[in-house]
């Protein structure tokens, strides 16, 4: 258990520093964009909340850190089981942190909307009416849990297959977007984007709690995939 805690500390340090930098950059950009919107388009300007940007951040960070983390923790004589367990614990902590920051971002959004009536919030209240704060926190937490794990699984695939995987992933993504917009007058594109919206909880029938459950189940599956990828993974330089 001590080793898992040490592994978590090792990663938490990196996650925390990165999150502070990201949040600082977000806040600077946020106020700059709000100011620009108010000057340029005073009526009905919509701006993005923290969590939308945090989702991209939550995917990229573990994806980028995976290799260094895996190599370093192997270097300090840890088993793959310990490393994966610590990664999962770190994912939980990181998701919780981003959930709290996102809720604070929501409050900031609402506050700004009250001060400047012309702004329209992109809060998740627009997706789920009458959502309570605990529900919202759970929704954020499970959403981040899923996205951070997607990032981790991306990192693990990248570690295993290297540049080939990167080319396949991003190239495939680009080709899919291009083809889907060309096929059937964009109907395929609409179908793909609807599927993506459903996956990320924007069109889920049944409310926020069902959506959180969906995120959690996907996260469990991704956690299992992460372990399967790591358990026999040789160390690469």
């Amino acid at each position: 258990m001590d080793r898992i805690i040490n592994c978590v500390k090792f990663q938490a340090n990196r996650y925390l520093k990165t999150t502070i930098v990201f949040t600082a950059i977000f806040l600077i950009s946020y106020f700059a964009i709000v100011a620009m919107l108010l000057l340029a388009e005073p009526e009905g300007s919509m701006y993005m909340g923290y969590y939308v940007m945090a989702l991209i951040f939550a995917f990229l960070t573990p994806g980028i850190l995976y290799k260094d983390t895996f190599n370093n923790l192997m270097l300090f004589s840890n088993t793959r089981k310990t490393i994966t367990a610590s990664m999962l614990l770190c994912t939980v902590a990181f998701s919780a942190l981003l959930a709290v920051l996102s809720e604070l971002g929501e409050l900031l959004n609402l506050g700004m909307c009250r001060i400047f009536n012309s702004l329209i919030s992109s809060s998740i209240d627009n997706i789920y009416r009458d959502i309570t704060t605990p529900q919202k926190l759970l929704w954020f937490f499970t959403l981040f849990l899923m996205v951070v794990l997607i990032g981790n699984v991306y990192g693990a695939f990248n570690y295993k297959f290297g540049k080939m995987f990167k080319a396949f992933f991003w190239g495939g993504f680009g080709v899919l977007m291009m083809l889907s917009s060309l096929l059937s007058n964009g109907q395929v594109y609409i179908a793909v984007s609807n599927a993506a919206k459903w996956f990320f909880g924007y069109q889920m029938v049944g409310g926020a709690n069902w959506c959180s459950l969906h995120f959690f189940i996907v996260a469990v599956v991704l956690g299992a995939i992460l372990w399967l990828l790591a358990r026999r993974q040789p160390q690469n330089a």
């Binding site: 080793r3 040490n6 500390k9 090792f10 340090n13 990196r14 260094d68 190599n71 370093n72 192997m74 270097l75 300090f76 004589s77 840890n78 088993t79 793959r80 089981k81 310990t82 026999r232 040789p234 160390q235 330089a237």
Partner: protein, 289 residues
């Protein structure tokens, strides 16, 4: 024979068509310093990577501290392996890396690590990616020595170090080994200068163990025999000749193996010159194809 702390049985590992290890068997005893020797591609790093579960073997078994070592959470923390390859987080400061390392080894001596940093003039506030090749090696040495792990393994620890710093390393290694006996395995190419610190040399060639013996025995068992070609050929008959060369009518043979003092006296009496083979040369002869 003292306690065996690491043992490999029939290890085989291939990369494509190349066999990096071929039915490799070796035993390491407690509280000894081993030199792991072999040419590039002989299989040294593969052996070390397998014994520390960094990579997996195709077949065979690794036992450490009496247990199966593969992915064993009880065994791996007793092994500190500092590989040649660069594995540290580049943006971390030396101080942070040492602090983190300290959390992973039960007997890590932080004070000793601080002392070593001073001795090697390693700036703890520098980021890892700002270190020169030599200082990267020094950081590995600091962590390896301060870990006080019962089995400490260095792969090419003196890479990029100048002679003076290498000397500090050898002195520290001996001193620390004397005060805190444990097993060291050191893989190196600089055999001549490190031979004196090794108690046993393990020589690998093409993925197979070709020699495991005390360094003293290794030196004692190697001789040059030189003289007229016919006389050298006659003298070398029946001996293990590992190298021959000729200069004009003089022939030089390097022989390896136990030769009785009587036999050596007999060779001298026959007008032949007998001289010791330098360790570096012996290594080259033993590992040449």
């Amino acid at each position: 024979m003292s306690e065996i702390i690491l043992e490999t049985k029939n290890l085989t590992k291939s990369y494509g068509n190349v066999k990096a290890l071929d039915n490799f068997n070796v035993k390491f005893e407690k509280d000894k310093i081993y030199g792991l020797l072999g040419r590039n591609g002989a299989g040294k790093t593969t052996l070390l990577n397998i014994t520390t579960s960094r990579i997996f073997t195709d077949s065979g078994m690794v036992t450490a501290f009496g247990e199966n070592a593969v992915e064993n959470g009880q065994v791996l923390p007793k092994i500190c392996y500092m590989p040649e390859k660069d594995m540290f987080m580049h943006k971390m400061k030396v101080r942070e890396i040492i602090k983190h390392a300290g959390g992973f080894y039960a007997d890590f001596d932080m004070q000793y690590a601080e002392n070593l940093c001073e001795k090697f003039v390693l700036d703890k506030n520098k980021k890892y990616n700002a270190l020169s090749r030599g200082y990267e090696s020094i950081l590995r040495i600091v962590i390896g020595l301060a870990s006080r792990a019962p089995l400490t393994i260095f792969d090419e620890p003196v890479l990029g170090l100048d002679a003076a710093v290498r000397d500090i390393f050898y002195t520290e290694l001996i001193e620390d080994f004397t005060n805190n006996p444990r097993t060291f395995i050191i893989s190196t190419h600089l055999i001549e200068e490190s031979a004196d610190i090794f108690e046993e040399a393990i020589i690998i060639k093409n993925g197979q163990l070709i020699e495991q013996t005390a360094c003293e025995t290794l030196k004692e068992n190697a001789h040059y025999v030189s003289g007229k070609a016919e006389a050298v050929d006659a003298a070398a008959a029946g001996l293990n000749v590992i190298h021959t060369e000729s200069v004009a009518s003089v022939k030089i043979c390097a022989i390896y193996g136990k030769v009785s003092p009587e036999k050596l006296r007999e060779l001298k009496a026959a007008g032949l010159d007998i001289s010791p083979v330098p360790v570096q040369k012996l290594f080259i002869y033993l590992t040449e194809n």
